[in-house]
């Protein structure tokens, strides 16, 4: 599979379908895999497409490459959640599809941090080996998949120019690709690949997978709600939080150009801390931990795509994503909003007559 994908990428560059590529590439330590921008087909050799690690959400990187024109066409390899996050950023004018070719795929999932480290250290495991296990049978790897991935009900790409179909596709038979947009159709025309059928059994595998994930989500939701259904419990949940703001920094849809928590609003006068301590008995330092997480929920839960980067980045091992994804469900249901769709974000518009259920004291 990897070899076929590499050949396709090289072909895209040689035929002028793309001037540059953003692909997951093995880094200098021989283990870590990060999105990297390459402008020469010679670099494609180092790509690892279906590695089960998810170090960083590429949506934010694609936004860095497209918020202004570069004059070059770049094809970007992105997981379904990364594409949805990228779409959210496009809607906020922080990214653009004009010069990008979005390459989506049936998601290879990611292992949780520890399992991922073990996987990387076990030399001899290859991406093809991983793909060979999880695409015919997503639950068969025997390793701990990241919690966010294990409850994700959107494992297939939406809105991609090119979409790689892996579920049901035996790895030794090569990768199937379809076009999702006119730009994608044009590129496939340029590449002149063999045509064929959609991999057999793909729909069935996806249906069963989504069902299993939904059940897992509900299980997780039950546990997290029980652990956070009061402000006191929420304080316990975030008891180890050090306000490092990693979760915010790695979140692909945390869109504020300047976070309010970086401003003087939160440079409290020293006497203010004393007054709070007088009132509450103790005031944890750094302060405003709950305020920070509740604010982030208010600001971005409508756009949360459940990628799990927040949990991955937390130095205190707080399962941030599990809380944020259940709140995201509630917010997205309230506004009937699907992140990654073409609908305008809920707080960029309003109507003269709506949400009457919110108004009134009887």
């Amino acid at each position: 599979m990897e070899a076929d994908l590499k050949n396709l990428m090289i072909s895209m560059m040689e035929k002028g379908a793309a001037d540059a590529l953003v692909l997951p590439m093995k880094q200098a330590d021989g283990q870590s895999v990060m999105p990297a921008l390459i402008t020469s087909p010679l670099e494609v050799e180092k790509a690892v497409f279906l590695w089960p690690s998810f170090f960083i959400n590429t949506a934010r990187m694609a936004s860095c490459l497209s918020f202004k024109p570069a004059g070059r066409k770049t094809a970007v390899w992105m997981r379904p959640c990364e594409i949805r996050a990228f779409t959210e950023l496009v809607k906020l004018n922080q990214a653009s599809r004009d010069e990008l070719v979005i390459m989506g795929m049936d998601c290879p999932m990611a292992l949780d941090k520890k399992a991922c480290r073990d996987y990387m250290e076990a030399k001899g495991e290859t991406a093809d080996h991983w793909a060979g296990q999880v695409y015919p049978d997503p639950g068969s790897s025997g390793r701990t998949v990241s919690l966010a991935c294990s409850v994700c009900t959107s494992p297939v790409a939406v809105n991609a120019d090119l979409n790689f179909l892996f579920y049901g596709s035996p790895p030794d038979k090569g990768a199937a690709v379809e076009a999702g947009t006119d730009r994608g159709r044009e590129i496939l025309g340029q590449l002149a690949l063999d045509t064929g059928e959609t991999p057999q059994g793909r729909e069935k595998i996806i249906k069963a997978l989504v069902q299993a994930r939904e059940t897992a989500f509900e299980e997780m939701a039950e546990g997290v709600s029980r652990a956070t259904d009061s402000l006191d419990k929420l304080e316990t949940f975030f008891g180890a939080c050090i306000n490092c703001y990693n979760c915010r920094n790695v979140c692909p849809v945390c869109y504020c150009r300047e976070c309010v928590f970086n401003t003087d609003v939160f440079s409290h006068e020293p006497i203010q801390y004393h007054q709070w301590a007088d009132k509450w008995g103790q005031i944890k330092l750094p302060s405003d931990t709950l305020f920070y997480h509740l604010t982030r929920l208010a600001h971005m839960s409508h756009a949360c795509v459940g990628c799990g980067q927040c949990t991955r980045a937390c130095p205190s091992d707080i399962p941030v994503a599990s809380l944020f994804s259940i709140v995201a469900r509630a917010t997205q249901a309230a506004f009937d909003y699907v992140p990654g769709s073409d609908d305008p974000p809920p707080f960029t518009e309003f109507k003269a007559d709506e949400y009457q259920d919110v108004v009134g004291i009887d």
Binding site: K233, L290, F291, H299, A330, F350, I361
Partner: protein, 149 residues
Amino acid sequence: MEKVDLENFEPVIIAFVCNWCTYTAADLAGTSRLAYPENVRLVRVMCTGMVDSQYVIKAFLEGADAVVVSGCHPGDCHYINGNFKARRRMKLLRSILPMFGIDRERIRLTWIGASDGIEFAHIMTRFTEQINEMGPCRPRPQSTLIKAG
């Protein structure tokens, strides 16, 4: 540390009221010598559209038992559409905060016009009664309790 005194519980209710409508109504209630509970602490803002979600969150974190945002009726907003924005924000907060034990009925949005002084007093009285019924939002010692009697 004082224990929470449920018998003498006096809710703390923060009301973000818009200058042009609800605050004027409150002022009218005052000049008409209409009483409404001291539990309601008014914060005057120019428009409900400027009530950031963070104001409401902060109020609850600081120990408020309820928050009401009140402004002009739709179509009457001094800034045309501020109240529409407020409505969307309150929809958001009423979806998120109940997940953390802050009952939806503690987070309210109302429209009270400038001449509705009587209605203002009635609504605030009724709301205070409702919150009194519901009890403290987050039972813990508060040095800002109004002593009864």
